[in-house]
């Protein structure tokens, strides 16, 4: 880098000045303080102090906006943990409980509606054929005779096309396998959406509408914190829950127990039992994306 100590200092001075002005303005009621810091470094280059200050700014901003205490955690990946997910296609009944639990847990925009999970209905006669899959099925009760259901969300690929196609490094794979997005670094170019073969990424075309009473105040910086307009988002395996040892919300809500989650490095985990004992496949294996999301047949 060509930055000299002088320019660095002057940048810091500039930022301090801007922050000071913003604080003064907010006290005066002229404008709201903003966490968006155009001059900050990439998340991976922040010092612990800078990160802490940034999270505190966000917490303050969200708490003021939604009128309740919002926490923004940056819980790190647990060393030695390698997450994977498995979904039992022989059990799923297509009830969409997971879709709506996910929206509630992860603070997705209600209008325009953003949903990280899509449940595809397919004909048993045709098998898994994405060309005739229908995500918009309506029914009195499910499962409908002659159909089966395949929920699709982010596959958390080991060889993720979205990560490779992001021109600014706003999305990457975490050490525990979760593919994460820094919404404040995303430029909204949607290259990742074009490259994702699973349609798992969603763009905030409008300012996300999230009623304050529906906000889940326990958030993670790389997960369910409220998003701005113009950025891409997707399933994070409930990073704010799973990094605390909890199951993702979709796992807990599934009425038929079709969803399994755990640590591949733990031989006693449910996910290892599935991989060792069931018929397992990954979606679009021919693309060599090497998903961490497995489908299996439990019977």
């Amino acid at each position: 880098m060509t930055d000299t100590a002088d320019t660095t200092v002057s940048r810091r001075d500039l930022l301090c000045t801007i922050a000071g002005c913003a604080a003064a303005a907010s006290v005066a009621g002229c404008s709201e303080p903003t966490h968006t810091d155009f001059f900050r470094h990439h998340l991976h280059e922040l010092t612990p102090e800078q990160l802490k200050a940034m999270l505190a700014d966000l917490e303050q901003e969200f708490s003021a906006k939604y009128g309740k205490d919002v926490t923004v955690a940056m819980t790190e990946a647990r060393p030695g943990v390698s997450f994977a997910y498995a979904l039992d296609l022989s059990r799923c009944i297509g009830c969409r409980r997971c879709v709506h639990a996910c929206v509630k847990e992860n603070n997705q925009s209600r209008e325009p509606a953003v949903q990280w999970i899509r449940v595809l209905e397919m004909d048993k006669e045709k098998g898994i054929d994405l060309h005739h899959a229908n995500a918009y099925y309506e029914a009195e009760t499910v499962p409908r005779p002659g159909h089966f259901y395949m929920p699709v969300a982010c596959q958390h690929c080991r060889n993720a096309p979205c990560v490779k196609s992001c021109p600014v490094g706003a999305t990457w794979q975490e050490p525990d396998g979760i593919v994460a997005i820094d919404y404040d670094w995303c430029i909204g170019c949607r290259c990742c959406m074009a490259s994702c073969p699973y349609g798992a990424r969603h763009f905030n075309w409008a300012e996300p509408e999230l009623p304050a009473e529906e906000l889940n105040p326990k958030t993670h910086y790389l997960g369910n914190r409220p998003r701005p307009k113009g950025v891409v988002e997707k399933c994070t395996w409930c990073i704010h829950r799973t990094r605390e040892g909890l199951y993702p919300a979709c796992v807990e809500v599934c009425p038929v127990g079709a969803r399994k989650f755990g640590d591949l490095n733990d031989p006693a985990s449910e996910i290892r039992y599935v991989l060792e004992n069931k018929r397992v496949f990954v979606l679009k294996s021919e693309l060599n994306t090497r998903p961490r999301f497995y489908y299996f047949y439990g019977v």
């Binding site: 009830c95 995500a135 009195e140 009425p255 127990g257 399994k260 004992n277 397992v280």
Partner: protein
């Protein structure tokens, strides 16, 4: 870079070696309790599997309130029930099954296994597991049925009968939640 930690042999094993799965290490009873850790708040059974209380219909338990051997002699004859429990429609291999195959005639507050061993309702999974051994094995491993709690610690189990009506065990269809809106294509 990192994150290539899943050995390829594991995936290959999972895909290729599945027919060998009949005799796996998870089949040992003593392996099981260690994987679920300390008990959640619910009732604990002697086997170390922690499940919530059985979902009895209101007021039916203890069964011996009505089935008092001094007041009401057990009638072991297979018949259409007319004095009580008429609402129960047996759709569980009804041709071959009958109340007293599972419910114990002498001790109505318990169930019995095929060999005659009494089991409390809290351990009804042992009874189900006699015929549905493959499901029982998966359930104990946490793979059949819903789990809540922690992926790395305490898990809450459900009894088979929390999801399956033991008299008509087929999982009942339910109403789906709303479909997503179709994207609007503007001309």
């Amino acid at each position: 870079m990192r994150n290539h930690s899943l050995p390829r042999w594991l995936a290959a094993f999972a895909l290729a070696a599945l027919p060998l799965a009949g005799c796996d290490a998870h089949d040992h009873e003593e392996d099981f309790p260690s994987s679920i850790g300390a008990p959640p708040v619910e009732a604990a059974s002697p086997q170390g599997i922690h499940v919530p209380p059985p979902p009895f219909s209101d007021g039916v338990f203890p069964c011996s309130d009505c089935h008092d051997p001094e007041m009401l002699l057990p009638n072991p004859r297979r018949r259409k029930l007319e004095m009580a429990h008429q609402e129960i429609e047996l759709k569980h291999d009804a041709e071959h099954r009958w109340c007293l195959d599972c419910h114990d005639a002498a001790n109505r507050d318990q169930l019995h296994l095929a060999g005659g061993e009494l089991v409390p309702f809290e351990e009804s999974y042992r009874l189900c597991g006699q015929c549905h051994g493959d499901k029982y094995r998966d359930w104990r491993a946490g793979v059949h049925g819903r789990r809540t709690g922690k992926w790395d610690g305490d898990k809450e189990y459900l009894l088979c009968v929390h999801c399956h009506n033991s008299h008509a065990p087929h999982f009942a269809p339910i109403a789906p939640m709303p479909a997503p809106k179709r994207p609007v294509r503007t001309p």
